[in-house]
């Protein structure tokens, strides 16, 4: 059974390239992907997760305002009965040259299960999902995806 993953760029951020490539990678790896696109608000994420029975919500942020944009996000999810959904966040999460370990800690405390920097390859996120959602390897890509899977 394919797992459903919700993707989106939060806030008023319009960076679209990374999430487009991530969408392709997740689909190729056998996930059902719902890409909410850029400039997605917290309520839109929650509604998307509810409507599609999401197993995981992946939040992207590249313009440096991730902390403000995700404040209260997990509270909202819990209220909507989605407290168990796996949540990741990735991108340029802080303005300036902060220590990433510190940034990771901040977002872990906010409730995100995993925190990735902007250099993360899609493969890394996929491997993490496979582990966190306890997906047997046979269920997803054992091989290089062919064009047909795109």
């Amino acid at each position: 059974m394919p797992r459903t993953v919700i993707l989106g760029v939060i806030g008023s951020d319009a960076h679209v390239v990374g999430i487009t490539i991530l969408e392709q990678a997740l689909e190729a790896a056998g996930f059902d992907v719902v890409n909410l696109g850029v400039q997605t608000s917290q309520p839109e994420f929650v509604a998307g997760a509810q409507d599609h029975g999401a197993d995981a919500v992946l939040v992207s942020s590249l313009y440096g305002h991730a902390e403000q944009d995700t404040r209260g996000f997990h509270h909202r999810l819990t209220q909507a009965g989605l407290g168990d959904v796996t949540t990741y966040i990735g991108g340029n999460l802080a303005v300036g040259q902060d220590d990433f370990a510190e940034t990771r800690e901040t977002f872990r405390e906010m409730g995100f299960d995993r925190v990735f920097d902007a250099e993360t390859e899609p493969e890394e996120a996929i491997a993490a999902l496979q582990q966190d959602l306890e997906i047997p390897l046979t269920e997803t890509d054992a091989e290089e995806p062919a064009r047909a899977t795109l």
């Binding site: 392709q24 390859e121 995806p145 795109l150």
Partner: protein
């Protein structure tokens, strides 16, 4: 319903009068007086005239800071130290969202604290007089560059303020910039801008209009970019615009870039009415830059070399500090001079590269297929056809954030580095053209020993910033880490 028809005078008046309520500086706009004002400007500040009579590619940087004095100083620096032939005024992003009150706040903060809290020049807030002071204080023509989907008030004020060139268009400043703007509405808003430009033109003040060619700046296939340029050109021409500069963003492959610029000029001349003067502008690489000034200079160098061979009318330059965002005046001027040196060393050389004609023919054939579909969907009306073709995905822009675009097209480089289409979605390209793209990408895939897939796209998006053109998987030719890393 949105149609490609000239906006009636009465409608223009009505909209203008409504817009006057949007911000107090609109009060000062008086058309007849503005036409008279333009008449006082010397020949060297008439944008269209300078651009259209130049005998070599003119250089123009990007630049905008909130305060008037600073903006004048910045532009004069770029002109005298960078050798810029044409100057820009880049507008702040609050103005782009029509948030003039927030822009005002930012401007006042900048004035009080001396710190630039806006990322551009809020021309609406500076008003007609502020704009005129800018135009009078700098020694070259100035263009408004912005990214504003609804730029009607900005156009009213900057045209009255003495600017004679205005970037953007309903597709190029909507689809790549924002998520939820309705395309039909944006087309109508730009009909106002173009009609206003057309009216000035009829009164002897040629306003140059420049659709934004690079779109999303990320591996845009030339046929898509050129189709957008022709569509926006047609929409502008309907409103009476007579000076159009069509744009194209460098993809980094010499043959394809030269071919695309030639196709752009050729299709522009063909599709647009005879009384419209069509010029072209080449944007140096708009994708990710290497995080290293020395390598960035290499990217700029290739841009300059390409411009020297393709000979567009204008080149928008990049700076070696591109990777860190807004460059200093000095870095911006350096990008201008590096480009100028390459152009002036190569311009007089006779460099004829094999394969340009074939690539140009392929680009033109593909662009025609898209334009034919658009005109068909609109039953001859380009506005209506554009809206419908975007709805069906028959017209699409890769990596567009807009909900008005299907966003199904994925580009990738072929084995020669030229940008091809990996995923077409519903893009209106016939099978024989699709087959050529597929074959080219299969050849690359074979070279790399992998299947054509989104991984190529991901690798290609990062390749130039990592020091190469094609995102090969083997990690061969790795870039040495630069001193600036």
């Amino acid at each position: 319903m949105t149609r490609d028809k000239r906006l009636p005078e009465s409608e223009l008046q009505r909209i203008a009068s409504d817009l006057r309520d949007d911000w107090p500086t609109a009060e000062a706009v008086e058309f007849t007086e503005a036409v008279e004002y333009h008449g006082t400007l010397p020949a060297e500040k008439r944008f269209a005239e300078v651009l259209e009579t130049a005998d070599r590619p003119l250089l123009q940087p990007r630049a905008g800071v909130p305060r008037l004095r600073d903006q004048i100083e910045l532009l004069e620096g770029l002109r005298t130290e960078g050798g810029a032939d044409l100057l820009p005024t880049t507008i702040d992003s609050y103005t782009r969202d029509n948030e003039y009150a927030k822009a005002q706040e930012g401007l006042e903060e900048a004035r009080e604290t001396g710190e630039d809290t806006l990322n551009g020049f809020p021309a609406v807030n500076h008003g007609v007089d502020g704009c005129r002071e800018l135009i009078e204080s700098v020694g070259a023509p100035v263009e408004v560059r912005h990214g504003t989907p609804d730029a009607r008030l900005l156009a009213m004020i900057t045209f009255a303020g003495g600017f004679q060139s205005f970037e953007g268009g309903p597709i190029s400043y909507n689809i790549p910039y924002t998520k939820r703007r309705d395309l039909a509405q944006t087309i109508e808003q730009w009909q106002f801008v173009d009609r206003l430009a057309g009216l000035y033109t009829e009164f002897g003040v040629t306003i140059n209009r420049e659709p934004f060619g690079p779109l999303t700046g990320t591996l845009v296939p030339p046929c898509i970019a050129i189709a957008v340029m022709v569509v926006e050109g047609l929409l502008s021409a309907t409103q009476g615009v007579k000076s159009l500069t069509l744009g194209y963003g460098q993809v980094g492959t010499l043959v394809q870039d030269v071919a695309a610029l030639r196709a752009l000029q050729s299709l522009g001349d063909e599709y647009l009415p005879d009384d419209v003067t069509v010029t072209t502008v080449f944007h140096e690489w708009m994708g990710g830059f290497p995080p290293d000034e020395a390598r960035a200079n290499g990217v700029i160098g290739l841009g300059g070399a390409t411009a020297a061979i393709a000979k567009p009318d204008k080149v928008i330059t990049k700076s070696p500090q591109e990777f860190r965002g807004v460059p200093t005046m000095e870095a911006n001027a350096a990008g201008l001079r590096t480009t100028r040196q390459l152009i002036d060393m190569l311009l007089e050389q006779d460099v004829q590269i094999d394969g340009i004609d074939a690539e140009q023919e392929f680009i033109e054939r593909s662009t025609r297929a898209l334009l034919d579909t658009i005109l068909e969907r609109g039953e001859g009306d380009v506005a209506r056809g554009t809206i419908r073709a975007f709805e069906t995905g028959e017209f699409d822009v890769p990596f567009a954030p807009s909900e008005s675009a299907a966003g199904q097209v994925l580009p990738a480089r072929d084995d020669d580095g030229r940008v091809r289409i990996l995923e077409f979605g519903d893009l209106a390209l016939p099978d024989e053209i699709r087959e050529i793209h597929r074959t080219k990408l299969d050849t690359r895939a074979e070279t790399e020993g992998r299947e054509p897939s989104f991984k190529m796209v991901a690798d290609d998006v990062d390749a130039i910033s990592e020091g190469r053109l094609i995102g090969r998987p083997d990690g061969s030719n790795p870039a040495p880490s630069g001193g600036d890393d």
